[in-house]
């Protein structure tokens, strides 16, 4: 089943729940089949599939509950990440679990854009199509998501390192 593993991974990260992720993936394929006529040949098929999955998530109970609105302009409420210390924590600990926990702790808009960019290796254009936001917003949100992740890593690290 093509794209199955990637879609499931993304769904699981969004929902944080196995059953919900399974339902979401199943719903995505069903909707893709039903709505195939709305897919325009020549446009990005992968972005289309991810958009269906994400829209289904947004309309689900968990999605409505967890999809917090984020201010695209201000950096308030983000933990400072002014120096390279969080990166050096990463290198020192080589701690995959720490990154996974920090990712899971991020608000969904930050988590999803990081996953699309780093894990799915989507271009800014593809991310723009998937999330239905302008490329400028992709860049600023990505930048803030990275900053938030570094901040979350520092926070989860519990001040064991000098920050």
């Amino acid at each position: 089943m093509p794209l199955f593993d990637q879609l499931y991974n993304f769904a699981r990260w969004l929902t944080q729940d196995t059953t919900e992720a399974e339902d979401l993936v199943q719903e995505t394929y069903a909707k893709a089949l039903r709505g195939f006529s709305s897919f325009q040949l020549g446009t990005n098929f992968r972005a289309w599939m991810y958009r269906i999955l994400r829209n289904s998530f947004l309309s689900s109970r968990t999605g409505l509950k967890t999809m917090v609105a984020i201010d695209e302009e201000t950096d308030e409420n983000l933990l400072p990440a002014e120096n390279a210390t969080p990166e050096s924590i990463l290198i020192a600990q080589a701690n995959r679990q720490a990154v996974q926990q920090a990712l899971a702790d991020l608000p969904v808009p930050f988590r999803e854009i990081l996953l699309l960019c780093e894990v799915e290796e989507m271009s800014y254009q593809e991310i723009s199509e998937t999330l239905a936001i302008p490329i400028g917003t992709v860049m600023s949100r990505l930048s803030r998501a990275r900053k938030a992740l570094r901040g979350q890593l520092s926070k989860n690290d519990g001040g064991q390192h000098d920050l």
Binding site: M1, P2, L3, F4, D5, Y8, N9, R12, W13, A21, E22, V25, Q26, Y29, A30, A32, L33, F36, S37, F39, F45, R46, M49, A84, P86, E87, S88, L90, I91, R96, Q97, V99, Q100, L103, L114, L115, C117, E118, V119, E121, S123, Y124, M139, S140, L142, S143, R146, L149, R150
Partner: protein
């Protein structure tokens, strides 16, 4: 070490876009030039690369069950319960076939593109980290007859290096390196004030076997790769594509 760009939000976004391979050539050139000159920004960029790779590894976390896969495959292939009209069949059968075909093509393209991206990203990392290292090469010599024998017994193959007299290139030395757990040779050449890396591996790894030969622009570096006598050659650097081509030609003709 401080840099006037350090506190700039705009610069930070530019570095991110540069590392994501999303900057236009001119802008990428500006960033690359600054990185060559500024140790603080280079350290910052390396930290960001490290973070990108960590997220990439950490993000590939979940796999759907075989049962779910089978269930969805069945539901996609399931026939409608009611007797379908010929009109429905006329529309649905090509639609499903087209969907499956598109998905298959997309998957193949994504997988191959992901693999290529990984290889180039890995090579760019090897190139940058070697140059950032206090000892970029383990054998320091401009003489190919010193550098080549140094690799004997260290890697499981041999290769030829070109005569550089009369060219703009200078051999700086070499080191043993690894790509996807495969040992290989990493040679560093200088052209004007730029360093260019040449990587040579046996062409049997899954990671490199799918690569098509030819010039590529990846991670803001120019790359050329080809195979000869069972070896895969990569030439990578921030110099112009013409310089990369010129060095590649010399290496191809080395006897």
């Amino acid at each position: 070490m401080t840099c006037e760009h350090a506190a700039s939000k705009e610069w930070s976004g530019k570095i991110d876009a540069y590392l994501d391979g999303e900057l236009e050539t001119t802008e990428a050139g500006v960033v690359a030039t600054h990185l060559r000159e500024c140790a603080a920004c280079t350290a910052d960029a390396l930290g960001r690369v490290q973070m990108k790779r960590s997220v990439q590894m950490a993000g590939k976390r979940y796999a759907g069950s075989a049962a779910l896969r089978e269930k969805i495959a069945k539901s996609v292939a399931a026939k409608p319960r009611r007797k379908a009209s010929w009109v429905w069949r006329l529309v649905a059968v090509p639609a499903v076939s087209l969907l499956m075909l598109s998905v298959a093509v997309t998957l193949y393209v994504n997988r191959e593109s992901g693999r290529r991206q990984r290889v180039y990203s890995e090579l760019a990392d090897l190139h940058v980290s070697a140059l950032a290292s206090a000892t970029p090469v383990d054998v320091i010599s401009t003489d190919r007859h010193t550098v080549k024998p140094w690799f004997q017994g260290k890697i499981p193959f041999s290769f030829n290096l070109p005569e550089l007299q009369g060219t703009e290139f200078t051999l700086l030395g070499g080191r043993v390196t690894y790509l996807a757990q495969t040992p290989g040779a990493h040679l560093i050449y200088q052209v004007r004030k730029h360093e260019v890396s040449v990587f040579i591996f046996q062409d049997r790894g899954e990671e490199t076997a799918s690569l098509t030969s030819g010039p590529v622009h990846a991670m803001s570096f120019n790359v050329e790769n080809w195979t000869r006598d069972g070896l895969r050659y990569f030439v990578i650097g921030d110099v112009s594509a013409d310089d990369i081509q010129a060095l590649s030609k010399l290496l191809r003709n080395a006897r």
